[in-house]
Amino acid sequence: MNFKRLTKKTEFYIAVIILAFCLLVQVRSGQFFTGNNIVDLLRSMTIPMMFCVGEMMVLISGGVDCSFPAIASLSMYFVCTKMDGMFDNPLPYFLVAMLLGLCMGAVNGFIVAKFKFPAMIVTLGTSSLFLGIMQGILGSSEYPLTSGLYSLGSTKLLTAVNAKSGLTSDLPVHFAFMIILVILAWLLMNKTMLGRAIYAVGGDEVAAARAGFHVFGTRMFIFCLSGALAGFIGVCRSSMLLTVSPNNMIGMEMDVIAACVLGGVSLIGGRGGIVGAVLGTALMTIVSNSLILLGVSTQWSRVFTGLIIIVGTAVSAIQEQQRKKKLFVTISDKAEVKG
């Protein structure tokens, strides 16, 4: 019974596809299951995975946040340039960036929760606004990374060496941050009443209000959390790259939303979970990074991620449609005589 239920889940299919794809690459190139390739993959998924965690929670609450790359960029750029050299410890940079992100997220949350405007339009608007502040008022351009963050960025968890080619790959400390974040998000979504409130609000707002959940508060919380996370991730990104590159994260929102949807997180809210979001991001990263091992030029990587998004989301959409159109009449065997 439990296994049957498992096979009905999107997460299950994504996991199977990931496994099949990894094996395919391994068979074709013999290079997939090597230490440096795995470490490379884990490193490339670190930032998208963290973004995905935030986006997943917003999506489940019935909203969507398109402004997180802008929030991440602006808070990161602000702390890295205005607080350059002020601290040797990286912690204050993270804290200030998270605070800035939280404020920007609160703007999103307030407009969405108070006036009930569509979250997508609101966050596209604020996204423009935040980027405008960074590019116009702060006059953003490439900038050297402050020393406190530089040392953090150079901290490695481990280094993998490919025995054949001699190539090495480092796993940055940010990977550990990502793992902690995923665990915390899992605990929040599954083990706290706040997590249940997020699911309840995303499932049926009116029912949630009648059940005594604080709908406005839950929405505010979600957007503030997403903003604060974005600030944190922005600083992670610059310290991983060892430079302040303000335009580097712009445009990530669509891939992140797509990865969530791919992993079974519903755009209308209430459905999905952390496991799906993680698997969705993993699949997208693995495909776009492994094409080269299959002998496909990296210029094609966008085409393939595009195809994955379309096919992957279409499969779950079709499943849903079929589920709705499915008939359940039990037909009796005997042909009865009419009265």
Binding site: M193, Y199, K326, F328, S332, A335
Partner: protein, 496 residues
């Protein structure tokens, strides 16, 4: 301690200039099944919201269990034992049965963390109160409406309910499920719980309720015991007009042609070997329990599903119906049971909804839509079907159930139909509008249209159809003339 669980005296509630409640009284005794009836807009929902503490009345007093409340809040109402089961049931489709049962309690007790053990205990306690067997791990979206309702009821009972208000509890469930619901209600009554049953399904309220209160336009028009009422009086109190229901008298004409013939039609998991024919001017009823295949059969004739085998003939000619487009092209119209979802675009204008099936006829050669032509056609149908609207450009969702249903009919009638299939045509429709729809259907049949009514409302089938097919487990089990049947015999046929 008082013998009344609730006593409402002279309650008034205004919204702007509209008097939603204009000094109403309502008294419910402990352990009583009380029916509140009235047409849409009579103030039923408003009084529910007053009792649940959601609205503060502008005048009047509320007494719960002998205690007078000057300012009743929702929490006070819950603490006093008032529970409302809303029409939409307020369940979470995306969560499991267990979570749905336990969440409200856990929120109320201010818990911060989820404990599966506690959830399990609460859920088991809840379902044990009404002996409801449910798979606690199932997602609620996969359940039938009747099961969702039982979840809402068992959840309400957790809060030591003394009065349960059920808003239109029988609109979306089948007769068999209604019987089960009534069993549950009688059980609750034995435990001393009072039920306020809000409905306008005649046969049901007469069966279950001991006491009636009827509202019209925000005022009391009747309050008394069930024995003091009969159907005639009830309809009069509800609508304020005398309505004489006339049974459909089908005049068999020797020259009437067979319009639709279905031969050995089968669809996997839908129905098997269905054969019947339909002459012009006939109204054919198809009845059976939910899950008997009646809806699937209708949807297949319309082209929503494609039959696996068998033939459909229109005017004696075999036709291929593999899609809705084919169905419409062959002159078949279908009014679905969930009109809000399947039959109408609720967010669009009334005019667009009525003209949607005929866009092409309203467009000029370049494909631009001619607004004047739409206006004319909408004006025609609004008059023809006496649809009550303010402005054709208003949103569809501003209309009541009866008027919305008339719009669905208008949409189809503006096409040149040969067969009209009505599936549950008066579900959620006021009595007044219901008779309008019946009258209209009969008129259409008299003008030569072949009509199929699919319904589990026995009374509706008997008074509107000349012939009835009964479906059981995906097969046509009986074919009878309605003149040989009465309510009891037809009811027995469908559950046999």
């Amino acid at each position: 301690m008082s013998e009344n669980i609730i006593k409402i005296t002279g309650v008034k509630k205004y919204f702007g200039g509209v008097k939603a409640l204009d000094g109403v009284d309502l008294v419910i005794k402990k352990g009583e099944v009380h029916c509140l009836a009235g047409e849409n807009g009579c103030g039923k929902s408003t009084i529910i919201n007053v009792i649940s503490g959601f609205y503060t009345p502008d005048a009047g007093t509320i007494e719960i269990d002998g205690k007078e409340y000057s300012k009743l809040t929702t929490q006070m109402a819950i603490d006093a034992g008032v529970q409302v089961i809303y029409q939409d049931l307020s369940v979470f489709p995306n969560l499991t049965v267990r979570e749905n049962l336990a969440l409200n309690m856990e929120v109320a007790s201010g818990k911060k963390f989820v404990s599966k053990k506690r959830f399990q205990e609460i859920a088991l306690e809840a379902i044990s109160k009404i002996n409801f067997k449910a798979d606690l791990d199932e997602m609620v979206e996969n359940l039938t409406v009747a099961d969702k309702q039982l979840i809402a009821i068992s959840r309400a009972l957790l809060n030591n309910a003394k009065l349960i208000i059920m808003d239109e509890p029988t609109t979306a469930i089948t007769q068999k499920e209604v019987k089960n619901l009534f069993r549950v209600i009688r059980d609750l009554q034995k435990q001393g719980i009072a039920i306020l049953f809000v409905s306008h399904k005649l046969d049901e309220v007469f069966e279950i309720a001991e006491h009636f209160t009827i509202f019209r336009s925000g005022k009391n028009v009747f309050s008394g015991r069930t024995e003091e009422l009969d159907e005639q009086k009830f309809t009069y109190y509800m609508t304020g007009r005398e309505i004489q229901e006339e049974a459909f008298r089908y005049e068999k004409r020797p020259d009437a042609k067979t319009v639709l013939e279905v031969r050995d039609l089968s669809l996997a998991n839908g129905f098997a070997d269905c054969s019947f024919s339909l002459k012009e001017g006939e109204i054919l009823g198809i009845t059976g329990l939910l899950g008997s295949g009646r809806t699937e059969l209708a949807e297949t004739i319309f082209g929503y599903h494609k039959a696996d085998s068998g033939e459909i003939l229109i005017h004696g000619k075999k036709v291929e119906i593999g899609s809705v487009k084919d169905g419409i092209a062959n002159g078949i119209g279908y009014v679905p049971p969930e009109r809000n979802v399947q039959g109408l675009f609720m967010e669009q204008s009334i005019a667009d909804n009525i003209s949607i099936t005929r866009w092409k006829d309203h467009a000029d050669r370049l494909g631009f839509v001619n607004e004047k032509s739409i206006e004319d056609s909408v004006a025609h149908w609004v008059k023809e079907l006496s649809i009550k609207i303010n402005d054709p450009q208003d949103n569809m969702k501003t209309l009541s159930g009866g008027n919305a249903q008339k719009c669905v009919l208008a949409k189809w009638l503006s096409l040149d139909l040969k067969v009209l299939i009505l599936n549950g045509p008066t579900v959620g429709v006021d009595i007044g509008a219901k008779y309008d729809i019946y009258k209209l259907t009969k008129k259409l049949a008299e003008n030569g249209l072949a009509v199929i009514i699919i319904s589990d409302d026995i009374r509706e089938v008997l008074s509107n159809c000349n012939r009835v097919l009964v479906m059981r487990q995906g097969r046509l089990a009986e074919e009878r003339m309605t003149s040989e049947l009465d309510e009891a015999s037809l009811s027995a046929l469908s559950v046999e």
